[in-house]
């Protein structure tokens, strides 16, 4: 019996050791990538990886996570000193890329970006030129992959039910919001007997939609919170006035009862859900995911033929994608674009191959199918990508194309990474809450917001 125990213990120890010792074999590259919204996105990524593996003989160990898990997972790996070689997530730009670059956690990938930078749209490549506080210099610490901006989506049939045509929609700022709020909503309610709301207006503290939408309202008033060097401009009286006006306009839609009361606590999916359920007639959203969902459903074999036909009709006939009205000063709207960025970590074990992989993925023949696999949800970062016939393929994509080609501006966090903190804590939605829930005046709520901006990003 004693010998049996010894043998068992020896076998167990050997098993553990075997598991613990990495097998010397093929060279590997560890890649963490956000899980795609659609199968076609992931399929394009898998195809590119397969091509890379065939070309180099390197085995890519790909792990995919849902978007909300990417940052916790990457931060845990960084804290443990064991990050992946290459990582990409749709939320890195909003929350961590600038911070990681500032803290010196990212590898300078200028050697692969500089030779190809002319292929990219100017605003996208600018987003990845970041400051490293350790080296005290700016360099390309990230790579651009795709971008998004703000769109308006509305149901044409519901607008018709209210007795209006698309051509009735005003194009000036105040008239536009008054039209939806004061004309369409009462008309739709009286003609259908349903308790519908004109606008899906995200205001939740936990939603990126709410800060993206608010910052778009801020852009309408030409507010610049930082200069090109990231220095705060909030002490300028014009900035304060613009912020106050943006806050007043944004919250008035709620105080006038034109958005569902629950929109003050909406998370990112909630305006989509309300739109799909037809409890709202229009909403603003930072991608055309609302329309794209119906396109995806139209081709979903798991749905019945009737459901697919209805989804196709929704996408092709009933839902419209549009831009914002002209700014209050009458000038044309220039949209803010969020450029989605990936990174190579300073602690990466295989930096050489990581950079090689990034350069490979950024090749047009790999990047384009990946971006277009998202059914229009994401817009290309390369000049060639924008010229693809895909963007002229239907009215939704054409609308997206037109918005982007009119020019875009970057987020504040590109100039001053601390704005990622302000976005994470959503000072914008907190100010909305002050007005809507606490009854503060927009001026008072703006003062509090500016104080917080100065405290964090000053």
């Amino acid at each position: 019996m004693k010998s049996f125990v010894k043998i068992a213990a020896a076998l167990a120890a050997a098993g553990m050791l075997t598991a613990a010792i990495p097998v010397a074999a093929q060279e590997t590259l560890v890649v963490w990538w956000v899980k795609g919204f659609y199968k076609s996105e992931d399929d394009a990524l898998f195809a590119a990886i397969k091509k890379y593996e065939a070309k180099t003989g390197v085995k890519v160990e790909l792990s995919q996570y849902p978007v909300q898990d990417m940052i916790p997972k990457t931060v845990a790996a960084l804290d443990a000193g064991n990050p992946p070689d290459v990582a990409y997530a749709d939320v890195y730009d909003f929350q961590v890329t600038g911070k990681w670059a500032f803290e010196g956690k990212l590898e300078d990938i200028s050697d692969i970006i500089v030779p190809i930078k002319d292929r990219f749209l100017k605003n996208t490549i600018e987003t990845t030129f970041l400051y490293n506080d350790k080296t005290k210099k700016k360099a390309y610490y990230a790579f651009p992959l795709k971008q998004q901006t703000m769109h308006i989506q509305y149901w044409k049939d519901m607008l018709g039910e209210a007795g209006f045509k698309e051509s009735d929609i005003p194009t000036t700022w105040k008239a536009y919001w008054d039209f939806w709020c004061d004309k369409v909503q009462p008309a739709h309610r009286s003609k259908t007997g349903k308790r519908t709301y004109a606008i899906g207006h995200p205001m939740g503290v936990d939603a990126s939609d709410s800060f993206y939408s608010f910052l778009t309202f801020m852009d309408a008033y030409n507010v610049k919170l930082v200069d090109d060097n990231g220095k705060l401009l909030v002490d300028d009286p014009k900035v304060k006035a613009g912020l106050t006006n943006a806050l007043r306009d944004y919250t008035s839609i709620r105080t006038r009862g034109c958005t569902p009361p629950s929109s003050t606590s909406w998370k990112d999916p909630d305006n989509n859900v309300a739109f799909h359920n037809k409890t709202i007639l229009m909403t603003h959203n930072a991608t055309i995911s609302i329309a794209a969902k119906w396109l995806d459903d139209a081709n979903n074999p798991a749905l019945s033929a009737e459901q697919r036909a209805q989804a196709k009709k929704n996408y092709e006939q009933l839902i419209a994608t549009a831009g914002f009205p002209a700014k209050p000063d009458g000038s044309k709207f220039v949209y803010r674009a969020a450029v989605k960025t990936g990174v190579v970590f300073d602690l990466a074990k295989n930096k050489k191959r990581a950079k090689e992989f990034v350069a490979f993925i950024l090749n047009e023949e790999n990047l384009q199918p990946y971006v277009e696999g998202s059914l229009g949800r994401w817009y290309p970062v390369t000049i060639a990508g924008t010229k693809s016939a895909f963007w002229q393929g239907d009215p939704h994509r054409k609308a997206v194309y037109n918005q982007f080609t009119a020019g875009t501006v970057p987020f504040e966090f590109v100039r001053n990474w601390r704005f990622t903190i302000l976005n994470n804590e959503n000072v914008w939605a907190k100010a909305m809450s002050r007005v809507v829930n606490d009854g503060w005046t927009p001026e008072k709520a703006t003062d509090e917001m500016i104080a917080r901006i100065k405290q964090v990003a000053g």
Partner: protein, 284 residues
């Protein structure tokens, strides 16, 4: 008035019902909505109705046949959950039974101190140990292997299991061991022929506890496993929340299916659970 009737009894029953019915409703309501989503067609899943106009089992077909992008590895991930949970249950039992036997029956020197030290780890919330555990697994090259999660869950489940088993085994008459020893039994024979049969209810309870702990684990599984093929189903369910157009009806259907095995295990071993986990809690 019948002999069995008393107003006091009726009043007590009524009070219990007044408390019990709302508590039962409150507990069952989320489960009801889980089931409601699961039998609702996609276009009416979020309609807010208390019963769908056209109930369907189509969502179950989609899940079982892996027809959705997020369900590509449904069976594989269900299998992973099962393997990991069973392994954690079995290995925790192995370690805890041995430790409890050594501490309680063999009275190994320092055994009690070791058990108390192990219990001390519960002073630190498991979530705080996640990153150190991640680092440790990285050092041993176990990241993204199911062993990482199995060992981590064992580390979490073992102290409590040892304590429960030690308390339960303290209740066994020591004279049994002495009698067996007089008959010439070795410690291993004592363990196999005397200790294990008498401890069976507690062993079932502790094994079930460890199994369910591993089955329901999210944080460690999320951190230690990476590849879609290695993930447990509980973690993979997170994929459904990635999109702003989540297929809620499929998420709830998968969730409902995922909740069934632990419910079945619990009810199968329910009679051991209460007795087994509280054995020795009160000195007799």
């Amino acid at each position: 008035m019948s002999a069995g009737f008393s107003w006091r009894k009726v009043s007590t029953e009524a009070k219990l019902l007044l408390i019990g019915i709302p508590v039962a409703l409150w507990t069952l309501l989320p489960i009801y909505h889980l089931a409601l989503f699961a039998i609702s067609p996609k276009d009416s899943a979020m309609s807010g109705h208390l019963w769908p106009d056209h109930p369907t089992l189509r969502n179950f077909v989609i899940v079982f046949t892996q027809q959705h992008h997020y369900l590509e590895y449904f069976w594989r991930q269900m299998w992973n959950s099962l393997v990991i949970a069973v392994a954690v249950g079995a290995l925790t039992l192995f370690v805890a039974t041995g430790a409890a036997f050594a501490i309680s029956r063999l009275r190994v020197k320092g055994g009690r101190a070791v058990m108390n030290l192990a219990l001390l780890t519960y002073f630190i919330p498991a979530a705080f140990l996640a990153v150190p555990m991640y680092k440790t697994m990285g050092v041993y090259g176990l990241l993204n292997t199911q062993w990482a999660l199995i060992l981590a869950m064992m580390a979490i489940a073992a102290p409590y299991s040892i304590w429960v088993l030690k308390q339960a085994s303290d209740k066994l008459p020591y004279e049994l061991d002495e009698a067996a020893r007089i008959d010439g039994a070795s410690p291993l024979q004592l363990f196999r022929l005397v200790y294990l049969p008498l401890m069976m209810p507690s062993l079932v309870a502790v094994g079930t506890y460890a199994l369910l702990l591993a089955w329901n684990e999210y944080l460690y599984a999320f951190l230690l496993l990476s590849n879609d093929r290695e993930l447990t189903l509980g973690v993979a369910l997170g994929n459904f929340l990635a999109a702003d157009d989540s297929p809620w009806e499929l998420l709830m259907t998968t969730g409902l299916i995922y909740a069934l095995p632990p419910a079945a295990i619990y009810y199968a071993f329910k009679r051991y659970m209460v007795g087994g986990l509280t054995a020795g809690a009160v000195k007799s």
